[in-house]
């Protein structure tokens, strides 16, 4: 997951440097691919953060809590 978002981010940076014509294509009025791609990075960041929070709460926390209680020997 970490590798994935880093690749996605680096793709964005590389395209910004090397694919200027593509990034300059206007999509909605003055708003071009570059801006949309940039805002998508924001969206994906929020999305990944939210997805991780849910995953951690549902899957990771119960296991961690159980192991911790077992080792520390008392419920909290």
């Amino acid at each position: 997951m970490t590798a994935a978002f880093l690749v996605w981010y680096l793709l964005y940076v590389v395209l910004s440097g090397f694919a200027r014509d593509f990034m300059g294509i206007k999509v909605l009025g003055n708003i071009n691919v570059a801006l949309i791609f940039g805002v998508l990075q924001f969206v994906s960041t929020f999305g990944i953060a939210w997805a991780y929070a849910r995953h951690a709460e549902k899957k990771l926390d119960p296991i961690a809590d159980e192991i911790r209680h077992e080792i520390e020997g008392r419920p909290e």
Binding site: Y9, L35, G38, Q41, F42
Partner: protein, 536 residues
């Protein structure tokens, strides 16, 4: 009342309020856990705000708004790196650090290694990164006051640096982590409030139509094509391939550096559990992300309503774009009084922003000196809590005084590169060591020391021999030319060197402690034996 007078009054109100908070916090600061980690009693939301307050510096607010105002898209690029970086902190670092460390980054690294060499290396790296960052902020403070209060001359700016320095020393020495955190929380609220207000006014003026705002901004800029498509400031056509590689280098340093910044890492220790550390990063991402979206509108608004010529005339780097916009939009909607008031508010917020960040940096570096270098390396752990906290306070004073002095000396220099360098060192020296420590069983002391010094030294050396220091009109030494390294940001090279050095150092040493790795794995993932919140 002039806007200068009003903004001074507002700023003094902020100072009075935060000093009050600091003295209140000092009465609650009794133990080392209180001083270093605020008693670990901050909630996820509070810490998230503090993270925002600690991270969103004047460089973020004024610098990025200015970059977007003058160059458009290239400025936006910058802010994206600053935000995406937090995913690295969220997914790989925050919770694991909270569970395996006590007060500093070095606590985690020293867990399964031979403590003294690792703590020395981590302490050196922490103090280096923090001082670079701190120096840049101090010089920025002097320049900023000059611009916003219309004060001219090096003497006035020097006094500003002294004033900022004294305040930050008081926050840290008297208030410790509790006081500093509250200052950052207050600043974050003010910054978000001020930025949101101006953003809404600007959007309102353009009928909430981002496209027309952007079009107007581009039309007012000096180069509409690069304004919307990129290449106006970074990776310009004139810079060719080196410029594009530099952009990637910068992008890497930003995205990987945040999770290695010491003043950010210590934030994770101020909450009761790892889950709260996670919550605080989630809050931080929400706040910081929203903020950077706001700066996009602020930048466009400044370009459209003030114009790049007017902005550049006031400050070539664009640092006054946001306040100039505040005045312009205030005037446009509420008349001249409105313009004065809004300008004063934004200027006061900018001063508050600097104060909160420098306090955090001073706390991080002095804590590392006292806890890592003094208590564990020099005194080999034979030191009482009281003594350690006293040393922490003294070193905060010393570091503060040194940065005041250096800030005055470095006045007028273009020190933006210091922040980029801080990120590069954090990404090359700190992050590899942290990640290897938490995730690589074979990692050992030699590897940790090699990773930290390898990353730190390679970043420093490459910057010294880059166009930042010599060879160009904007360099530190414009008349000399020893710049054989073509990139202004060393990240692309120094970050892999950091990881490589860590790997080589580990393989060359026979040290291998699988049991200790198993222990840190369990502790970091489950929270067994983690430092608990203090009872009062």
């Amino acid at each position: 009342m002039s806007s200068e007078a009003l903004s001074t009054v507002l700023f003094l109100l902020f100072v009075a309020a935060t000093l009050g908070i600091t003295f209140w916090a000092s009465r609650q600061t009794k133990t080392a856990a209180d001083y270093y980690a605020g008693g670990r009693s901050f909630s996820g939301a509070q810490n998230g705000l503090a993270i925002g307050g600690d991270y969103m510096s004047a460089a973020s607010f004024l610098g990025i708004a200015g970059l977007i105002a003058l160059y458009g898209y290239d400025g936006f690029l910058y802010s994206i790196g600053f935000l995406v970086a937090w995913l690295v902190a969220l997914l790989l670092v925050a919770e694991l650090m909270r569970n395996s460390g006590k007060f500093t980054m070095a606590d985690v690294l020293a867990f399964r290694m031979s403590p003294r060499p690792v703590r020395t290396a981590a302490g050196v790296s922490t103090i280096t990164v923090s001082i670079f960052y701190l120096l840049a902020q101090m010089v920025g403070a002097g320049a900023l006051v000059g611009l916003l209060l219309g004060i001219e001359g090096p003497a006035a700016k020097a006094w500003t640096i002294v004033a900022v320095g004294i305040l930050m020393i008081v926050y840290v020495v008297v208030g410790g982590m509790k006081g500093t955190t509250w200052v950052q929380i207050v600043k974050a609220v003010l910054l978000m409030g001020g930025a949101t207000l101006v953003t809404l006014l600007v959007l309102g003026k353009y009928g909430f139509n981002l496209s027309s705002l952007m079009g107007e901004a581009a039309a007012q800029s000096s180069n509409p094509t690069t304004y919307t498509g990129g290449g106006g400031r970074y990776a310009t056509e004139a810079q060719g391939l080196a410029g594009k590689l530099d952009l990637i280098s910068l992008g890497l340093a930003l995205v990987l550096g945040t999770a290695g910044l010491p003043h950010i890492l210590i934030r994770f220790y101020t909450v009761p559990t790892a889950k709260d550390a996670r919550k605080s990063v989630l809050w931080g991402i929400g706040i910081i992300g929203t903020f950077y979206l706001l700066t996009l509108v602020l930048g466009f608004g400044a370009a459209a309503l003030v114009g790049s010529k007017t902005i550049a005339a006031q400050d070539a780097a664009g640092n006054t774009a946001a306040p100039q916009l505040a005045q312009a939009i205030g005037q446009a909607i509420f008349g001249e009084v409105g313009g004065t008031i809004l300008l004063a508010i934004i200027a006061a917020v900018a001063f508050a922003t600097i104060l909160a960040v420098v306090a955090g940096l001073t706390l991080a570096s002095s804590s590392s000196f006292a806890h890592d270098l003094y208590a564990h390396v020099f005194k080999r752990g034979d030191v009482t809590e009281k003594e350690e906290v006293l040393v922490a306070r003294i070193s905060a004073f010393v570091i503060g005084a040194v940065s005041i002095g250096l800030g005055i000396l470095a006045q007028g220099q273009n020190v933006a590169f210091l922040v980029a360098l801080a990120f590069a060192v954090a990404a090359s020296g700190n992050l590899p060591a942290i990640l290897y420590s938490l995730f690589w069983k074979r990692f050992n002391t030699a590897g940790a020391v090699a990773a930290i010094y390898g990353g730190l030294v390679s970043a420093l050396v490459l910057v010294i021999f880059s166009p930042v220091v010599s060879g160009k009109a904007t360099s530190l030494f414009p008349d000399a030319n020893f710049a054989w390294f073509p990139l202004s940001n060393p990240g692309l090279v120094s970050i892999p060197i950091g990881f490589l050095a860590g790997w080589i150092g580990t393989k060359l040493s026979k040290e291998y402690n699988a049991a200790k790795y198993a222990e840190i794995e369990v502790r970091s993932l489950t929270g067994v034996g983690a430092e608990k919140a203090a009872e009062h």
